[in-house]
Symmetry: C2
Subunit: 393 residues, 2 copies
């Protein structure tokens, strides 16, 4: 896919150790409209603090990102490194420091190797001549097993434009250590208010409905830059083009979010948890998240055990309004329980067949109202424990 006016680069800076590309750069040839959402964790990494400050003006032209070190819990020195590395990028690109966003992922509490980062900068900027978005997607991986990318095209005013995105996750969605990072670029011309609304709605309906382990990182960042180089008339609020752009952006974000769940650490299952019949949508989301985050439910998924009782139990402590005599549950189209009770017959055998699949849906109906919500999650496996017991070694 051709995204006009963006350049990419990735090099080996040996941030944590040598042997792979771990420092990457995305550059827009002209200033781009930009917005971002960051972790709600009160312990925020230095790059999050610096980027949040800079994005306030709604523009950005470059993104510097590294894996191997989160630059979190690193204090003044961490801020100094974030400022200095983005300054070097800005110098190399001949743009203002404030136009450079920065993101990091990796281990918490270790100071960044400023000397190695600085040494890698000239090659990083030079690499823009020949790099691809794929290179960046690979460089930001930590425990991810595959790079995550998605791209779509649309039209506005008879002109084609593109939206492409990359992401990393693998650890923890509501993510933690391994951090959720996602960067979206588009060559569409979009009015700032349209971009902001479409982006925040899209993130809410994608990254905010996935969960791997319920932890929320110090570094989570999702950023979009739209540089207008497609040449379309700017997409304005209230137009069909704005609606279409929003849908297209949501498709890209949701695809990336699902890829993150599928690559959840040690994940062997991809599960859609759908709650219907809740008193309201808030209750539905609470119930769906409780199910999706329950260690007991997730180990049962791993064990391919059609243990619907654990799911009702999670719904029961979710905080949602629940009348246990109205609960119903299906695995895909196999109804396991109705009116709070096991349906009997061959449901156990048929439910177990569903859980043997790589992907399936759990639908819980609360029987109280019209509230509904969907959350995507993975199972909890031996591999998850292995990865996270030995993460730093």
């Amino acid at each position: 896919m051709d995204i006009k006016g963006f350049q990419f680069s990735a090099v080996e800076a040996a941030v944590k150790k040598p042997g792979r590309k771990d420092l990457a750069l995305i550059f827009s040839e002209v200033p781009a409209a930009a917005c971002a959402v960051f972790t709600t964790n009160k312990v925020k990494a230095a790059p999050v603090l610096l980027s949040a400050e800079r994005i306030a003006n709604g523009a950005a032209q470059a993104l510097l990102v590294n894996s191997g070190n989160a630059n979190a819990c690193t204090g003044e020195q961490g801020m100094l490194v974030a400022r200095e590395t983005t300054h070097l990028v800005a110098e190399g690109l001949k743009i203002a420091d404030e136009a450079v966003q920065v993101a990091s992922t990796g281990v918490i509490g270790v100071q960044m190797p400023l000397d190695r980062l600085a040494s890698a900068m000239p090659a990083l900027v030079e690499g823009l001549a020949s790099g691809t978005l794929d290179d960046v997607a690979e460089a930001i991986m930590t425990t991810d097993t595959f790079p995550k990318m998605e791209a779509r095209s649309g039209q506005a005013g008879g002109i084609s434009y593109s939206v492409a995105g990359i992401a990393k996750g693998a650890g923890m969605i509501m993510p933690n250590m391994a951090t959720m990072l996602s960067f979206i670029i588009s060559d569409a011309a979009v009015e700032p208010a349209v971009l902001d609304t479409a982006f925040r709605r899209g993130v809410d309906a994608s990254f905010n409905i996935i969960t791997v382990d319920g932890d929320t990182s110090t570094n989570d960042t999702c950023l979009i830059m739209a540089n207008g180089q497609a040449g379309n008339p700017p997409i304005a609020a209230g137009t069909p083009e704005a609606t279409a752009f929003g849908e297209l952006l949501h498709d890209v974000l949701l695809s990336l979010a699902k890829q993150i769940v599928k690559d959840g650490e040690g994940a062997t299952k991809f599960v859609e948890v759908r709650v219907t019949g809740a008193a309201d949508d808030g209750d539905a989301k609470r119930a769906a998240l409780a199910v999706a985050n329950s260690s007991l439910v997730k180990t049962a998924f791993f064990g391919q055990d059609a243990n619907w009782g654990r799911i009702f139990c999670a719904v029961g402590y979710s905080g949602a309004r629940v009348d246990q005599s109205r609960l119903a549950l299906c695995f895909d189209d196999v109804c396991m329980a109705r009116n709070g009770l096991f349906v009997g017959g061959d449901a156990e055998a048929r439910g177990t067949e569903v859980l043997k699949k790589r992907e399936f849906t759990v639908t819980v109906d609360l029987g109280l109202g019209n509230g509904s919500a969907t959350v995507f999650t993975s199972d909890l496996s031996h591999e998850y424990v292995s990865i996270n017991a030995d993460y730093r070694t």
Copy 2:
């Protein structure tokens, strides 16, 4: 230890499968003052619903308890079984149905085998002649690897009395499937208001500060019966005896709670998480629970990885007020981080040595105020996943 006026029995009813004692009875020869706390889960097992109704009058004389089946999500039939089995016990003991409490633990969503339970009742009542509290402690085990008991003695008005307790846990504290059950008996004479206050305070400062996996069961029950058979003058409110009784009861409850954490499913570590310097005690508890429930923190404990950054991260998303530049953390007496930063030197090596121990303390100081809280937790191991992936098979 001699607890006057209580009798015990346990038999094999083959609730789930034959081969072990799974049905038990505690009987007080005279009506006892009693109170109980039950799960806050909105999906409540039949025995919880029935017992909560009956305990409202502050008295009980017998407790019927089974393992192998939770009698949860079993609807009207489940209530009928709870009523019928307690009726059979009442008949056998010649007491009122309402004086019989009932508790269950095991799989959710399977109907109880009423025929087998009924058949076992005569032997259960007969067994009171020769049974011990140990027999009951063993009969209520599910995935527990050892029975949990504690006993203490005190004096009131020159007369000795005893308090003894048993518990099961193993699964999930804030427990779920495997359920937390605890039964306390005492031969002290205690005014109902004193018993109630001492019991609720004791539970708050024991079972409510432990966590294995953050799930909360449909069946959790903690019950106390005090029958006055020691012959002491009733312990009255506002007296030193009331204070002493409360402390003694708390000791028993805390010991049982700690045993539950030590026997957490697959647990290889017992960890005390202490938060100090919080803006208030509520913030301290929120922060301590977030650390104690984090899958990432718990897998790091399992991996003996002194990963203090993950702990700061959990504190950061706990909801507690946090200033990351004031955070400090120690493993036992090894300080790892101060002012939000790694202290350097040989802290990494010394911290790792602490994490190799079977038991250790994590202290996080928030540097904001005088709020403090302590929570006990275990690690998250491969064994936890194995147990819960295959629980029903």
